[in-house]
Each structure stands twice: as C-alpha cells, then as structure tokens.
Symmetry: C2
C-alpha cells in the first residue's frame, strides 16, 4: 500500500523538493534523499553468507547447463562485463526466442524493493528461479535442473559444502539461495556520487552538481529515483503525465497489473535503479532508447510533462554519469564436468 | 610432407613402440615421447607479450559485440569454465544455427601445430579471425567489427595502450593478435601426468601407469597422441584402419581435403590434444561420443583395428584422467560501454 501511495504521489506531482543552490545545501539535501552503496555486501535474511555458498552461487550464475540448451547462463543476459546486462533491447533466449522486457542489471539488484520490472519476485532468491524455467529464456524445468545437478559429482561436493548437514543439499531452493548470495555481492561502491554523499564535494563537477540540483529540485526526478539505488524503491506508471506511443509502451505489456490484478497498476513498473546507467543502454522496459540524453528528455516529458531544455538534459545526464561505481572483480569459475549419467543439451 | 608421412605412418601401423614394464623404464619411455606443459605461457613469434595487450585480448575474448547479435563471444563456445569448450556436439551460433564440428578446446591450443579440426588456420592469431566472420557462428564482418570497435571510446584507449605508436591501432589484425596473446596464456600446467614427466613417480596411480604403458606400447595410441599436447602435432585419417559409420563420419564433412585439395586427405583431421579430456566431452569432430571409455574403445577399433578389452579400456581411461591440469584463473573483464554512434545488435 505504501508503494501504491508512492506511485500515486508521483503521478499527481503534488510536491517537488524545493530548488537548492548553495553548495553545502545541495550536499545536505542530497544526503537526505540518497544513500551511498555500502563498501561490503549486505547480509541476506535467512541466507547467511559463507565462502562456500558464495562460490557455489558464482558457479551457478555462470553455469550454462542450468538452461535446456546448456548454452545460456544467468551471465548471458546479466553480463558482469557489461554492467550486469546484455546491451540488447530484449534478450536472446532458448532457440533464439526473444525476451519480453529489457534485462535489468544484476548489479546492486539486492537493493531494489523487489525483482523484475513488475516486481513479481520479492527478492533475489525468488528471482533466480524465474529465468531458469521460463520457456523463452533458459527453458529448463525445476525437475530437470535438480536432476542434472545431482548427476554432476562436483556439484554434489559443492552443495554439500555450501549447505553442510543437509541430507540432500541439491535442491532448486538451495541453488537459488546460493545464486542470490553471489548476486548480493555484485555491488558497485565508490561511484563519484557516493564519494560526494560521503562528503567529498570535489567528487562531482560543477555541471554534475547543477544536474543533481535539477534532478532533486524543480525537475522532480528524485521523486521516484531516490534512496540507495537511486531508483528501485517504488513503482510508478510509465507515462505518469503523458502516455507515450506504442513504441515505448506496447499494448501487450501492461506491467504490474499482471501481478496485482489491480487496474490502477496498468502500465506501472518498478522504478529502475539509475546506478551504472552509463553501462546499461538501451533503456526502459522495452529497451527502445539507446541514448541516455534521449532517455532523460523522454522521462521529463512523459513523467513530468516538462520539456527539458538541451542545457537541462545535458546537466542531468552529466549527473547520471557520476553514478557509475567500481565494477565487481570476479574470478571466472571453473565448473565441474558432467557425470556419467548427466542429461544432454536440448538444442 | 612430414605431417602427411606421419599420418600414413599411423594408418599403416608399421611400428608400435615396444611394451614397457619396469617402472623406471616406463618413465624414461614417456619422457622420450611426451613433454610437460610449461609453467609459463610460451612467447608468440612477432607478437610480444605486454600486460596491456593480454588484457585487451581477454576483453575481446569475452566480448559479445564481436558478433552480429552482440550475444556470442569467443567464450560462448570456448568456455573457460568448461575446459575451454561448450559441452555440446556442435555449437550454437548466430540465430541458433549450429556449427559443423565440435568446438575444440582453447586450452593449450597454442601448442597445436595448426588450428581448427582441419588445420586451416596456421596459428592462434589466424584462427581468432575465423569464427567472428563465419555466418553460422558470430556472423559479423571484418568491416563491421573494426567499425564497431572504433566507436567505443574504451577500446580506442585499450588498443592505443596495447599497440603504442601505431597511428590507427584498431584493426582486425591487431584484435586477432591480442586475442591470440590472451589465448596463449590459457595453459593448464601441473596435471598429474606433468608431475610424472618431471620425475614424480607417485603422481600416477598403478592403474594409470598400466594405462600409460598400453597407450605408449602395444595399443599404439601415442603414435598420434604424443608431444607436449598429447596430440595436436599431426594429422591422421579418422578411421585409419576401419572406416566408421556415418554417425561418426558424416559424408558431407571430408576433413582436411577441403584445405589441401589432396584426395589423400579425405577424412583426415588434426589429431586432437588429449589434455583436459575429462572436461571436454563430447568427443571427436562430430561430438557424438559422450563417454571417454567409449571414445577410447572406438579409437582402438577404428584407428588400430584392436578390440580393446574392458580392462584395457579402463586402464587407458584412467591414464587420460591424469591429463587434467590446473585451469586458468581469469578475472572476468569489465568491457567498455558503447559510444554514441555504436551500431546496434542484429537480432
């Protein structure tokens, strides 16, 4: 209900934060609205971190055998070399089928209030089970994934280490736990804006500060894009003020209404994080906009009914460029070979 | 000519190395035929190693934008987590087309006398250019790859660092050089058999030693599978003694004759390395055999006309299991984002 209220709050544009000018005021205002990415991964409730579980999660994240074809892994669409996404409007899945929505970044995803564009998974663990069994994505089944993992001697060892004391540790639930734990480590601290939030006023250029002032102030971007992930904390209607055309809002995807069955959630989506936004083009749930400037201008128009000037767009874009943090350093995992009875890829 | 002679030599089975029994004799005989993988990567002639060039090569190896779809990288089929191959009979390429032959491992590939199953590329550098422009693999073009790389600011920096002093460093030739240099680092030293070759008689089990004796001795496997890569050093007819059925030797793939135009090279292929063979199923150029034991038995039958006993097959298989070395430790690269004019994926 709080989320619904927030979306309505946005779409009605009841209030925008007052413009700020003085440098100290700007920092103080920003510190009230945003929060830096922590330097260490957060803990997951009910899923305590161990090196063995995180290592298993990394293996599974890069494991193409979780897909029916044995050719598609989590990393195929959430490529850790490409800002945790795949640089495509929608992703390539099983037998070259195309996904319905742009692959959201896995980076900092643990800081979102829920997962998927429509928030249909409550957390990273629940999300991890989705694409594996989606027939147009990895196209496996729960039964097949577990059966396959159980035939691989190396995974029997790795799951036993990650879930000690469990009589039958290879379950999809445990696989999802391990993947979630690894994904929770995929944070990007120390962006220039994080250093700014921690008090380093020189971390942003003057242009970026001007963009931040617009973003928080009169342009109202921070009404939705706020908090630790500068987004990811609420839902909002895409086209809150002006409904865009079908190129940006295809009629066969009505957003969160499919989850809540509440007509008010038609065309409502999770507000995406803007962290690492320079790395994650193309933009929006359709992935139809490749230019960050165009994306900023479109948001101003359809969310706020505001025709941003070129100068305003460039300043806000410059601010968004300060949101790119240190990318995760990941050692590529060595995956265990098939066992004698392992099933073959379905190609 | 020497290679042709070697193939003929094999197929006629003129000579096999005499059986060896005593432990010291076995080691001494093995040291004459095989050579350990070095602990450091070899130098590439005309392509001196620098950290900048190797890093660029790693980026390009994992770079899906080298493919038309921006979804397929070198690592898609030569997965460093899966023994440098993809665990499929033949690989998935552009728009789910299937490759013609089983993807050979990239691990230790620099020690082969040539690249591809038919040896049509003389070295790693020449090989690296092949799949990128193959319409059923990555399906890009030379022009498109270079044009794309030149639009990406991060690659302009990386190529300039890797090829200092060159006025226009982004060329396909330089990309291939960098990939080759990275691939040359993908060696797997310190397999049990390497420790054995260096004099540690305890590195192999008695069963593995018995397998080695058969492999070198009466079964004649080492007639072809010898040297540093235990294969990879010559060409041989698949079915040198008994021509196998179409399931293993499809009539539309006649092997090296397509390269040399010499009828004697019909059904002749490069002898593959047996290093890391436990990681690289399925086997042979068609990828139709999933079990290493079955592969060993088939080789005995069709290459040597020898019906190996179960005991012999198991011993030779045990020896082959000693060929798995330390897998490369690779930090997953962070790839630079598109530039403003970068071309879009063709999906």
């Amino acid at each position: 209900m709080a989320k619904r209220f927030a979306a309505a709050f946005l779409s009605l544009c009841i209030m925008s934060i007052a413009p700020v000018s003085a440098s100290e005021d700007l920092l103080a205002a920003a510190q009230k609205i945003f929060e830096p990415i922590p330097l260490a991964p957060p803990e997951l409730p009910g899923n305590p971190a161990t090196p063995e579980k995180a290592e298993l999660g990394k293996m599974l994240f890069f494991e193409p055998r979780l897909s029916a074809s044995h050719a598609i892994s989590c990393n195929s669409c959430h490529n850790l070399g490409l800002g945790g996404t795949d640089g495509a409007p929608t992703s390539v899945g099983h037998r070259w089928q195309r996904g319905g929505r742009n692959a959201p970044t896995v980076l900092n995803a643990g800081f979102n209030l829920a997962q998927f564009w429509d928030g249909r998974a409550k957390d990273l663990k629940e999300q991890a089970g989705g694409p594996i069994v989606n027939p147009i994505e990895m196209a496996s089944t729960k039964t097949d994934v577990v059966a396959l993992l159980r035939t691989i001697p190396g995974y029997n060892v790795a799951f036993a280490k990650a879930f000690p004391g469990e009589p039958s540790p290879i379950t999809l639930d445990n696989a999802q736990k391990a993947i979630a734990l690894f994904e929770a480590t995929l944070i990007t601290p120390d962006a220039p804006f994080d250093r700014y939030l921690r008090g380093d006023e020189n971390a942003l250029t003057d242009k970026q500060k001007a963009g931040l002032a617009l973003f928080m102030g009169e342009k109202g971007c921070a009404d939705c894009h706020n908090g630790q992930n500068i987004g990811g904390g609420m839902y909002a209607r895409f086209g809150a003020t002006i409904k865009p055309g079908v190129e940006f809002l295809p009629p066969d995807d009505k957003g969160r209404v499919a989850v809540t069955k509440d007509a008010d959630d038609t065309y409502v989506y999770k507000v995406p994080t803007l962290r690492n936004i320079t790395l994650t083009a193309p933009y929006f749930h359709t992935g139809k906009v490749w230019s960050l400037r165009e994306a900023v201008a479109l948001m101003g128009a359809i969310q706020k009914g505001d025709q941003l000037s070129t100068d305003e767009t460039l300043k806000i874009t410059a601010f968004l460029e300060s949101l790119t943090g240190a990318q995760p350093q990941v050692t590529y995992p060595v995956l265990p070979p098939d066992g004698a009875t392992s099933p073959r890829p379905e190609l």
